[in-house]
């Protein structure tokens, strides 16, 4: 059964790696729903958040193929229940419409949004949340002549993760110690995929 999976990839900061990771999906004709790259909790290490709608079996296979890339340190994949995630959205609407027709205060409160910019000609609102939440404000604003809308990629924190600081020390060792030598096949019970 297909469902949303958030794939977290820790990598070296290397030109060309985005393509290498993206081809792991495109070669199987998997659509990437959203993709975010950012620094991670560890200095110099990048973190990708990739959202796909796929079966667990396929996601596991892709995750292994990504993890074996030389510049990739670690891959985890998680269902929505296993993560805390947010998306950010910006909405640009004509100021006069908004000021006249809606109670701005109420609208902002209801959708947990705030005004980032208020100009004579337009106003920009911002909200973060799950898809339904950012969609809620979108629908609320549509009747008032929405000029522009944009939503960011998903960013996610894994509930069961203890962070990557410890791991990186193990990776930096010349020889993996027996504690460091995790074996994914032994960690099936754990919440996060681990290799």
């Amino acid at each position: 059964m297909k469902q949303e999976f958030t794939i977290t990839v820790y990598t070296e900061n290397q030109v060309g790696l985005l393509v290498r990771i993206a081809t792991m999906f495109s070669r199987r004709k998997i659509n990437i729903e959203s993709l975010n790259t950012s620094p991670s909790e560890v200095d110099g290490i990048h973190r990708f958040n990739i959202l796909v709608d796929e079966t667990e079996e396929v996601v596991r296979k892709v995750a292994r193929q990504i993890e074996k890339q030389v510049d990739v340190l670690k891959v985890y994949f998680s269902t929505n229940e296993e993560i805390i995630w947010q998306e950010l959205a910006l909405y640009k609407v004509p100021t006069d419409e908004i000021a006249e027709k809606v109670k701005v205060e109420r609208l902002l409160r209801e959708h947990g949004a705030r005004a980032v910019v208020i100009r004579k000609d337009y106003t920009v609102f911002e909200t973060t949340g799950h898809r339904e939440e950012t969609d809620g404000l979108l629908h609320a604003l549509e009747p008032y002549g929405l000029i522009e809308f944009v939503r960011s990629a998903r960013v996610a924190i894994i509930k069961g993760s203890r962070g990557f600081h410890e791991k990186i020390r193990e990776f930096e060792e010349m020889q993996p110690s027996s504690e460091a030598a995790e074996n994914e096949f032994l960690n099936e019970g754990e919440k996060v995929f681990s290799m």
Binding site: V15, R64, K68, V70, D71, M174, P176, N183, M195
Partner: protein, 586 residues
């Protein structure tokens, strides 16, 4: 290990970038490239020059006492030659090519090496860094083009990166599950001088784990399954050869008495005449190994990846068996066939651990089943193929005579098609690293350059390329390499005047509609003659053995064209979409 080599005409090139430092030498990027190759003990490079790699070629001129460069006739030929070299010798194959078309011509060979895990380092020239992205003459985005077909690739635009990047390249190419690596070096970096501190080989990359520490739990679980098994069956692949674990493998097999069958890349890891070697797996493999895959109770896969040409339909594959999968690449475990016991590790380490825990056994009744199936296959297929009574020659009898004349000591290199399947089925191998064939990619045109490369890798062994009339014409220009360097490689063209393997499928599955598979070929003996290579053509049984003997006895290269039956088929066959047990004998 640090090493500073004597580097010719270094200081002369000193320019603004470099400062004199007593501990370092001032070298150009090109010299650093070649010094890296020398330090990595590279002896042979297959390559082709062009504008963007000229500084490296210029420097190579001064290294001719330490590095042998073989000028191929097409860059694809360089990649396959490097593959043949690597697979015969166990060393890393090295390729040079220029930017643009030189680089794009590498793609097929890289893809072939990637899927067949062949260690290879390709170095391409690139336009000046300031021209990148401007559609400069012969600029191509080789990094993006080759990303899906390399284990790793990297673009260098600053010479100071060269020693470290090449050290990484060689380490990655040969460690873990080996594979091809491409390093693209812009022309300015080749020309740039810098303070060179010598070459330090790479031994660790923090984001890269070539192999894990083996977990004993899994070895123990595997041993329990094996000790309890009544009909255990081993499938082995190239992992045994790449892991240099032939001896460990033999000990495991002989202690457990388990029948073992091979993939075409694993052939030779165990001698053909070993009593526990029960033959070839896959679509055109032997009858017993295919049928009995679906009767064994424990299936032990060692260094193989359950390619679809081996498994046929997966939902009809070994469903009754418990599966133990030993592999160095965790992405292979559970990819196609779910493993009950995954043994992730280098089989050089895992096999002895397993051997220590298994009890010595014999499986006579079970082995007898393989022999029964073999008898059926002998009668239905093999006898007619090896000792035919028809007028026309068969591919099998050619291979059979070669076995007789070489005693199974030759390296057999094949191209792709019917002749490949026949060669793999019937050739004898006494020792490892004796069969070189394009398995995963099935690249026509592989055979001739790979045979040439194999001869450079193992000059003391007899190297025979068995090639189809179609495939030879894909890289026939490499005969020029045989001519120029006097390569003592023996080429056997099995000419059925057809793109035989495709024709066979048309006959069996497309109502004999031979759509564009009959092929008119040149006079191959005359072509060879034009290249100064002696050759002969035979079409009659009476002359075949002598012709083969002449080929083997002729010093240097030789080409023998054998006219074989036009419409012979390769059997047995597991038709596409069928399970292994549905293998057809005719």
């Amino acid at each position: 290990m640090e090493q500073i080599l004597e580097i010719p005409k270094a200081e002369k090139r000193l320019n603004g970038d470099a400062v004199a430092n007593p501990k370092t030498t001032v070298v150009t990027g090109s010299q650093a490239v070649l010094d890296a190759l020398v330090c990595e003990k590279v002896e042979t490079i297959f390559g082709y020059p062009g504008g963007a790699i000229m500084p490296i070629y210029d420097a190579l001129y001064d290294y001719s006492d330490r590095l042998t460069h073989i000028l191929v006739r097409h860059e694809q030929g360089a990649t396959h030659a490097a593959q043949g070299y690597a697979r015969a010798s166990g060393r890393v194959g090295v390729v040079f090519a220029t930017s643009g078309p030189g680089a794009t011509n590498l793609v097929t060979g890289l893809a072939d090496a990637q899927i067949d895990s062949t260690p290879m380092v390709c170095i391409t020239g690139q336009v000046f860094a300031h021209l990148l992205g401007t559609d400069a003459f012969q600029e191509i985005d080789v990094i993006n083009i080759t990303t899906p077909v390399t284990k790793w690739n990297y673009q260098v635009t600053d010479a100071r990166e060269i020693p470290q990047v090449l050290a990484k390249a060689f380490f990655i190419a040969r460690s873990g599950r080996s594979g091809p690596v491409l390093v693209d070096i812009s022309k300015n970096a080749q020309l740039q001088t810098f303070d060179y501190e010598g070459y330090t080989p790479c031994q660790h990359i923090r984001s890269y784990r070539p192999k894990p520490i083996v977990r004993k739990e899994y070895i123990e679980q595997a041993a329990v399954l094996i000790n309890r098994a009544e009909r255990p069956f081993v499938l082995f692949g190239q992992g045994v050869i790449l892991g240099n674990a032939e001896e460990e493998f033999r000990q495991f097999i002989e202690k457990t008495g388990i029948p073992a069958a091979w993939t075409i890349l694993g052939a030779g890891a165990m001698p053909t005449d070993h009593p526990l070697n029960v033959g070839m797996l896959g679509m055109h493999g032997n009858y017993g190994p295919n049928v009995l895959t679906n009767q064994c109770d424990v299936l032990i896969a060692i260094g193989m990846r359950f390619d679809d040409r081996v498994t046929g339909r997966l939902d009809k594959y070994a469903k009754q068996a418990k599966v133990i999968h030993l592999d160095i690449d965790p992405a292979e475990i559970d990819k196609n066939v779910k493993a009950d016991v995954p043994v992730w590790g280098d089989c050089k380490e895992t096999l002895p651990m397993l051997t220590a825990l298994v009890s010595p056994k014999k499986h006579e009744a079970w082995l007898a089943k393989f022999r029964e199936h073999d008898a059926q296959e002998q009668a239905a297929v093999i006898e007619n193929e090896l000792r035919p009574t028809c007028d026309t020659l068969t591919m099998g009898e050619v291979v059979n005579l070669l076995n007789e004349l070489t005693g199974g000591d030759a390296i057999i290199v094949t191209d792709v098609g019917q002749h490949q399947m026949v060669a793999c089925r019937y050739a004898w191998f006494n020792q490892t690293r004796s069969t070189i064939t394009s398995g995963g990619l099935g690249t026509m045109g592989f055979g001739l350059p790979a045979a040439i490369g194999a001869k450079f890798g193992k000059p003391d062994r007899t190297v025979i390329g068995i090639i189809g009339d179609g495939g030879i014409q894909m890289t026939i220009q490499e005969l020029g390499v045989i001519q120029q360097y006097g390569v003592g490689v023996k080429i056997v063209i099995l000419n059925n005047q057809f793109l035989g393997m495709v024709r066979q499928w048309q006959e069996l599955f497309h109502e004999r509609r031979y759509s564009f598979t009959d092929m008119v070929s040149p006079d191959f003996v005359k072509v060879a003659d034009a290249y100064g290579i002696p050759g002969q053509r035979v079409s009659e049984r009476a002359f075949l053995k002598n012709a083969l003997q002449t080929m083997l006895d002729t010093p240097g290269g030789h080409l023998l064209e054998v006219m074989v039956g036009k419409e012979n088929n390769v059997f047995p066959m597991v038709p596409q979409g069928c399970g292994v047990a549905e293998i057809r004998l005719k």
